[in-house]
């Protein structure tokens, strides 16, 4: 199925949660989701016959200035189709439901997004920093991140 | 798979396998014991460096047009250039490459329009200090040379200014003439 077909099917099922279809000018299309219903949508995508997205490739956190977004790349081995989901959250309160219970692969990917952008995935079994030390301050991949001058006495420059 | 066979049969099969495959491996390594070796005694024998090798930079100062394309292309900002003057009248005082940062990516050489910067075949890069990692590729200029160049630049500047003033004056004169008319 093409992303447009999947979108119409999703729109049918979750009219409030799924954003309008936008044909991209360049690159891949992307389906915008309301963060509140992300979990239900993902569950549907995983289990619905005909869709069956069993492979979560990637979760990306993006700082778009006013909003932080979490992008999900999904793939189905059975039907060989891919899908990109995107959920935008407010910068002040970046909270999203976790999908780690649907795809175990999301465990580390969500931890990485939390580590780098501070997006909090609610319901994640073990949301800790993964790449950076546990006592690191700030979220480096945010655009307004300021490099610390020192870390535990190790000077920067 | 293993369940189909009786444990006793499996036991002896394992034993037999162990003996046979050990023998196979031992004959192979034993065979290599007498084969020619592939390593070389490095400082005495040196490897042949292909011309495409990306080693230390070779900088041809006289060809350099001071376009700073290499500086712009460098992903790690490891090139620092200082010069007096511009274009043909430049005197390059400093062309330093910090090899503690350099990626040997060849982007600087590709960006170099006069083709004066290349990655050469030299691979011996070790240094024990940070300062030693910075190589000064430009010829060291003497004080006199710099002074002379500065004077030359100043003279040219003065000449240029004089010319400009003269031109300006001429313009003014012509303007006055037109006014007079």
């Amino acid at each position: 199925m093409t992303p447009a077909e999947i979108h119409s099917r999703l729109k049918e099922k979750f009219p409030s949660a799924v954003g309008e279809w936008q044909e991209p000018k360049a690159g891949d299309p992307c389906i915008l989701l309301e963060p509140q219903e992300l979990h239900e949508v993902c569950l549907f995508l995983k289990s619905e016959p005909g869709l069956e997205f069993d492979y979560l490739k990637l979760i990306t956190g993006v700082d778009r200035g006013d909003k932080l977004s979490s992008v999900y790349h999904l793939y189905s081995y059975k039907h060989q189709h891919a899908l990109v989901l995107r959920a935008d959250v407010e910068r002040a309160e970046p909270k999203l439901p976790s999908v780690a219970d649907i795809w175990p692969a999301a465990d580390w990917l969500e931890r990485e997004c939390f580590d780098m952008l501070g997006i909090v995935y609610q319901g994640h079994p073990d949301l800790r920093r993964i790449l950076l030390p546990l006592d690191w301050e700030g979220y480096p991949l945010r655009k307004d991140y300021k490099q610390p001058q020192s870390y535990h006495g190790i000077k920067n420059e | 798979m293993a369940n189909k066979q009786s444990p006793l049969r499996q036991y002896f099969k394992d034993l037999w396998n162990g003996i046979i495959t050990t023998w196979q491996g031992m004959t192979l390594t034993g065979w290599y014991l007498f084969k020619p070796k592939v390593t070389m005694r490095y400082p005495e024998e040196k490897p042949v460096i292909p011309p495409s090798h990306r080693g230390l930079h070779i900088y041809e100062e006289n060809k350099c047009a001071l376009c700073l394309g290499c500086v712009a292309a460098c992903p790690v900002d490891c090139i620092s250039i200082e010069a007096l003057g511009k274009g043909k009248n430049r005197l390059i005082l400093k062309f330093d490459i910090d090899y503690s940062k350099c990626l040997f990516c060849n982007l600087c050489c590709e960006a170099c329009r006069p083709a004066c910067l290349h990655l050469g075949p030299d691979y011996d890069l070790s240094s024990t200090t940070r300062e030693g990692c910075v190589l000064h590729l430009a010829r060291v200029k003497t004080e006199e040379e710099i002074e002379a160049h500065k004077k030359m630049l100043a003279a040219r500047e003065a000449e240029r200014k004089a010319k400009a003033e003269a031109y300006q004056k001429e313009l003014e004169k012509e303007a006055e003439k037109e006014k007079d008319k």
């Binding site: 690159g27 990637l58 081995y77 795809w103 920093r129 991949l141 | 798979m1 390594t29 992903p75």
Partner: protein, 379 residues
């Protein structure tokens, strides 16, 4: 036992928490595994990563698209060609550059050679993990041939910076082609020796078969890709499923695990898939060399690359699995965000699920069979 016998208070047993790494001979870099052991038995293992974090994604937001290419080399430093290829494909897809056929063929030759080199390192290191030292040197001996070929082709021995946006850096000459042919011959000769030395060795089979079994379902659920996924019996290869860079023109097979020596999805299967893949790569290289078209090696690319607004994800089949680059562009010369889907990162995330109630030696076998490169896990 006699229940009336009381245990003295001073006598007690406890589970040991042992740090395996970051400085440990068999964690392949700076992986730190915290293992909870009960005697020789490992109850659980928690991988701790990030010791090699180099802020690739942050840097990629501040340099131009062209300047990112040498950085991608350093992600999975054992397969630089494949990394740069994936990145260039992503940029080209978003920008709409047409890559000349010759360049695509050269990219494939380079990428497949690099795949063999990477698998040879795996072969050697896995032997080393199992305590056999000699396969390591044999693997590196053949890898050396590849490195010298790639050095002639690209100028680098480990970090090639060979695929560029729009094409490749250098053309191949007949001498290099002849050397590649020689290598193919040599590799076909020594490949059975590898099996004689290691793959078929009874001790090696005892150590790896039935150890670290990853079921099909678990492999898919944890997002495993590459040989780890195929070792579990899923015949999924991006080169075949979603061909990129003209891979659809080549005839090759996708080896999958069959549980030949034990259970489907055990360490031996993953190992065997990689060994078979080397032969398949040889096939691809042979075909690519035979059918190498004439023409340009690079497309017309403007000096300053600006991508149109939009986003793109391109995944490539790396030696370790699906390496994906997700590029979001906002029209500037720098990307808004470049995210790497690192195959080893997802592959390693299954560790805690499969390292349960195994022996200490098996932990080494399992981690080794996942074939991680910390360079791309930590980025």
């Amino acid at each position: 036992m006699n229940s009336t016998l009381e245990q003295p208070e001073s006598l007690r047993t406890e589970e040991l928490l042992v740090n395996m790494g970051p400085q440990h001979p068999s964690t392949h870099g700076v992986l730190r595994l915290l293992i909870q052991t009960d005697g020789e038995l490992v109850r659980q293992a928690w991988p701790h990563i990030g010791f090699l974090h180099r802020c690739f994604e942050k840097i990629a937001e501040s340099v131009t698209y062209r300047q990112v290419v040498p950085y991608t080399d350093r992600l999975d430093y054992l397969a630089s060609m494949n990394n740069a290829l994936a990145y260039c494909l992503a940029v080209e897809k978003l920008a709409g550059f047409e890559v000349p056929e010759r360049a695509s063929y050269l990219r494939i030759i380079a990428a497949e050679l690099n795949r063999i080199a990477s698998h040879l390192v795996f072969f050697g290191c896995y032997g080393l993990d199992m305590g056999a030292f000699t396969p390591f040197l044999y693997g590196f001996r053949e890898r050396e041939l590849i490195l010298s070929i790639l050095e002639k082709l690209s100028g680098g021995r480990l970090l090639y910076h060979y695929p560029r946006i729009g094409g490749v850096a250098r053309d191949i000459d007949p001498q290099i082609a002849a050397e590649i042919q020689n290598f193919i011959k040599e590799m076909r000769r020594v490949w059975p020796e590898y099996n004689r030395l290691l793959s078929e060795n009874a001790i090696f089979i005892k150590r790896t078969a039935n150890v670290g079994v990853i079921t099909k379902e678990a492999a898919v659920a944890y997002g495993l890709t590459g040989p780890c996924l195929r070792g579990s019996g899923v015949a999924y290869d991006l080169r075949r499923a979603h061909p990129y860079s003209l891979y659809e023109r080549f005839d090759f097979e996708i080896p999958i695990g069959q549980g030949l020596k034990g259970t489907l999805g055990d360490c031996w299967d993953r190992y065997w898939v990689r060994l078979l893949e080397m032969l398949e790569s040889l096939k691809i290289i042979e075909q690519a060399l035979a059918g190498l078209p004439e023409g340009q090696i690079t497309a017309k690319v403007p000096p300053v690359i600006k991508l149109p607004e939009g986003e793109v994800y391109v995944g490539c089949e790396n030696p370790r699995g699906e390496l994906g680059f997700y590029i979001i562009s906002d029209g500037k010369p720098q990307a808004l965000r470049i995210k790497v889907r690192a195959p080893s990162f997802s592959n390693l995330s299954i560790t805690n699920a499969i390292v349960r109630d195994v022996l200490v030696a098996d932990v080494v076998a399992i981690i080794g069979s996942i074939d991680i490169v910390l360079g791309e896990i930590d980025r």
